[in-house]
Amino acid sequence: MVVTAPAQSGPEDLEMMWRIRAFEEKASELFARGKISGLLHLAIGQEATAVGVCGALQPTDRVFSGHRPHGHAIAKGAETGRLFAELAGRRTGYCGGKGGSMHLAAPEVGFVTATGIVAGNLPLALGAALSSKCRGESDVAVAFFGDGAAQTGLFHECLNLASLWQLPVVLVCENNGFAEFSPLSAHTVVERLADHADTYGIPTETIDGNDLTVVRPAAAAAIDRARNGGGPSFLECLTHRLRGHYEGDPTLKRGAAARDEAKDPIQRFTRFLHDAARSAELEGIEVRVRAEVEQAAEEALAAPWPERDDLLTNVVAQP
């Protein structure tokens, strides 16, 4: 039986967005305090795309993310404690501390992996989709990437292949208007990135990526299309990163100055639920989730470092 992706969203989605927000704010704090190191790319302000898409997926569907992956992993079901531990380089992290923020992997919940190479995850998602298709399985693959990816060669190779082979893949472009430090206009004259996909004959939709009630049904339609043999879809989610490119980057202030409550997907979805007369169900969500995330962070930081021998393990299969 082919499942239909849920097009509705509710308080559980608000909770998930708060979980991502709380996780990333805590990560930012820990980074500022020197408790975690590395390159930390936060997606604060972009939670609706992660939750909108991942909430419409099945557990066996496969998600491939990029260098800003925390929200996607959490929304697909990864545990915040093991994610914090990974960011902190601890043995209890998903990748034993060897992956770090940009290379998270929680394949047991269908968050296959992330990559620090912009657009590098697109062909991985296509490969998963090809595997599903050739085996006659119904699993869908999803790639999340930013607007910066659209200027790579790999992006165009992948759009062509996804279309040519009608692969069950959903390509989710989180267009936050900035590639690294630069505005999109400094990198391309193409204003609507979905136009690229249109060129390759892929169904596209450009949506308000900060409105969960818009993202969820658009994602559900794309996922259903893929699962039912309708091939790839391209979702251009217009969103707004409320932080800099990475924690500590020189443009951090711009993100803060541009902070706009009206664009905050959490505030917007909260208002939506209030308007839908579901206020009673929202009580205590933020407080509860923040407490849960605090606890997860505390436990992660108390976890042991990897063993010295771990440096040399899992380079290749152990004999």
């Binding site: 992997a105 989709a129 292949l161």
Partner: protein, 326 residues
Amino acid sequence: MTKTIRYIDAISSVLRQELERDDDVFILGEDVSYGGPFGATAGLSASFGPTRVIDTPISEGAVMGLAVGAALSGRRPIVEVMFADFVTLAMDQLVNHAAKIRYMTDGQLSVPMTIRVQGGVGGGFGAQHSQSLEAWFLHVPGLKVVAPSSVKDAAGLLVAAIRDDDPVVYLEHRGLYWTKGLGASDETPTPIGTAAVVRSGSDVTVVAVSRMVGVAVSAAEKLAEDDIDVEVLDLRSVAPIDWATIDESVRRTRRLVVVHEAVVTGGLGAELVAGVHATAFEALISPAVRVGAPSTPVPASPFLECLYAPDTDDVIAAVLETLHER
């Protein structure tokens, strides 16, 4: 039971065998349904269909990554890179993804894929269709690299590569495609990471790889006429290197020559010599000598191409150099 077949037939035959043996195995590459430029995949499309033998556009980066994604999903893709030089277009996916994902995920994921790479000089194909790039791959932790020189190992190493749970770069030299040799009728794996002694000798150890193994054997036969007894090792596996076999040989002969077709600078030979110095320096009675191409791109002119690639005389000169009284 064995019969005489060509190197390229050994490759075809193993591909067919493995496609039959394991439904997860599939082939991906440019023009593979037509057999590719040299016929390695000829006839496979008719037998296994377009979901197992998949023609791709000229999109090397995406195709390599797509194979990685399929491998992460439990398949065993075999990617054909038509010319070694084209792998440069797919290096991000090979180096940053295929090779690193097992480590980056601490073993949660593996990338069981085979990358068939055709390369080497011959035919005057010029600088962008003739390179030997084994040293590039050797430098990447997480990749296994094999380079068969014989028909038997063309089969055995391909079986091993396809069944291996890590990405294996399988280097085919087009100058060997039409060479003949004994092939086993049941293709048994040649263990990755093992060198082979193809000619025993006591005076000098020559470690050669790929097409240079035959060149080294020719040199050894000529030197034998002058009572110089050369041992020739076929490295077979570029990564990991079979240090034990090399060490044992060098400790006996006390002299070392390494031969590859790739440029000498920063090459496999440097790694081999450094490795021997680290473990058997005291055994050497003369400096090790590297034989390879000069630091130039591969020239197209047949005249210059012949000068470029090491030949029997180059190996003989290197062996004699190790024998000179110092």
